[in-house]
């Protein structure tokens, strides 16, 4: 059997202790195959970002296992991270550096010192050419979002996680971003997407998992989930109400 791109086994995450303990993930099992365009949907607080952060190694799971391309995110963290690119939800940036510097550093962290051709291609593809030598502080929110996408792709990871990448992004960028991500998916990259724009998931993703209170309450192909519903959003509302 081929190694899955992402594998979660009985994944649990609890924050805090005693009476104030919060269960963010309550035993998630999930397998995402190589080359899939997969959506992880759920209301706020469902555990989507916690799940992503566990995969990214930013959060340690309380129990269970998480693997990226077969590498355990805790035990084989260096190998797991080499295979993963994450676009975080928050607009984080280093105020000391320009766009190009930020991309070169990110490339260097991944052990790629001579990566300017790909960095230039990313800058051009994401419409950052005019801003390449601009300090990150001076960029608009949309531009910062583009840089976050470029940073996640700078090492050409086989698995790409996009945590609400189009939140607060204008229509033009949204369209160009999805066209680019679709190209990457067609080239073989596995995409894991979380979004509150369900029409995006409907158009782009072949499979969907719906998360509520740290549990997967629906997991199927987009077509199967939508069967009998006008849209994925309608299916989502019904499933969430029943869960």
């Amino acid at each position: 059997m081929a190694t899955p791109a992402v594998e979660l086994i009985a994944l649990q995450k609890r924050y805090g202790h005693g009476a104030g303990q919060v269960r963010a993930l309550a035993g998630v099992d999930l397998t995402i195959g190589k080359g899939e365009f997969f959506a992880l949907l759920g209301p706020n607080g469902a555990g989507k970002t916690t799940l992503i952060n566990v995969l990214a190694g930013l959060v340690k799971a309380t129990s269970g296992q998480a693997r990226v391309m077969g590498f355990d995110v805790q035990r084989d963290y260096v190998a797991a991270r080499r295979h993963l690119g994450v676009v975080p939800q928050e607009l984080v940036f280093d105020p000391f550096f320009t766009v190009r510097e930020a991309l070169r550093f990110q490339s260097g962290y991944f052990g790629l010192p001579h990566n300017d051709d790909w960095i230039d291609a990313l800058i051009e593809r994401l419409g950052l050419t005019d801003k390449a030598d601009t300090n990150m502080r001076q960029l608009s929110g949309g531009m910062k979002r583009r840089v976050l996408v470029a940073q996640a792709l700078v090492h050409k990871p086989p698995v790409i996680i996009l945590d609400e990448p189009t939140a607060g992004v204008d229509v033009a960028l949204r369209k160009s971003l999805w066209a680019f991500i679709r190209e990457l998916n067609e080239a073989g990259h596995t995409i894991l997407l979380t979004t509150h724009y369900l029409e995006e998931a409907e158009q782009l993703c072949s499979r969907v998992a719906m998360l509520r209170q740290g549990r997967i309450v629906a997991l199927d192909t987009t077509a199967n989930l939508m069967a009998g519903h006008a849209s994925l959003e309608a299916a989502f509302v019904k499933i969430m109400a029943a869960a």
Partner: protein
């Protein structure tokens, strides 16, 4: 070992302070020179510390070492707290950089800044007083040991602190007293027996005294004895720092 990742993070950390050179290098050099000017003017005619060594010359290694310690501490601590608060630490945490590489990159960048500031103070001081260097090995050894110790302490503080106020507390209530009460401005032989004992508990005293020995060939204690205190102290700080990084203390929930 991801040498390119290590080099990149180290270079990024050096570039970070280099971009604000006035604040991170020039300002502490100026502060040290102001101390030198004021204390030398006020006391040089009244204080004789070591035979054949003027008070101004005596002050210079102490001030240079104080600058090394404070700036090595400041670099790692300020960089980490800023990255944690703004969230851009995620870029490093998402990368295939091992715990050791993370530790070495932050540590070495802080050492570079500490030594650079110390060197600035020394160059001006040597030019102004025409003092020599009796034992260059000891000068170099103590500059490195002290900057590594305080760089590690800076990383510990940067990891522990949740806000700038925490960091400021450590700087004002720990680092400043440790460095000021360590013989920068005086020989401990001029203190009462009680304060001599207190001074000898402070590991920074040995760093300053050993560094000074490198210039004048004389100090308050034997530099080898100082080394026996400072090396375990530095190793312990490095060990604690590595443990915090391996456990993801306040980095990975």
């Amino acid at each position: 070992m991801n040498y390119i990742g290590l080099w990149t993070l180290f270079y990024k950390e050096v570039l970070r302070f280099w971009k604000v050179l006035l604040q991170t290098v020039a300002a502490p050099i100026l502060t040290s020179l102001l101390y030198l000017m004021v204390f030398a003017q006020a006391l040089s005619a009244h204080v004789q510390v070591y035979p054949g060594v003027g008070y101004t010359a005596f002050l210079i290694p102490g001030l240079a070492m104080m600058a090394i310690l404070q700036n090595a501490f400041a670099n790692g601590s300020s960089s980490l707290i800023q990255s944690k608060i703004t969230g851009n630490i995620a870029f490093i945490l998402l990368a295939p950089i091992s715990h050791l590489e993370f530790f070495l990159a932050y540590l070495l960048a802080a050492v570079v800044r500490g030594v650079l500031v110390g060197l600035g103070v020394l160059l001006v001081g040597i030019w102004a007083t025409d003092m020599g260097v009796a034992h260059p090995f000891w000068v170099l050894a103590w500059a490195l040991i002290a900057s590594v110790a305080f760089a590690a302490m800076g990383i510990i503080a940067g990891l522990w602190a949740d806000k700038f106020d925490h960091l400021s507390g450590i700087q004002n209530f720990v680092i400043l007293p440790l460095t000021f009460l360590s013989g920068v401005f005086y020989s401990i032989h001029s203190l009462s027996p009680f304060w001599q004992v207190v001074s000898q508990i402070n590991p920074v005293f040995y760093m300053i005294d050993g560094f000074r020995y490198g210039f004048f060939g004389q100090g308050d204690v034997n530099p080898w004895w100082g080394l026996a205190v400072a090396l375990p102290f530095t190793a312990a700080l490095c060990f604690i720092t590595m443990q915090m990084i391996v456990r993801g203390y306040k980095l990975r929930n």
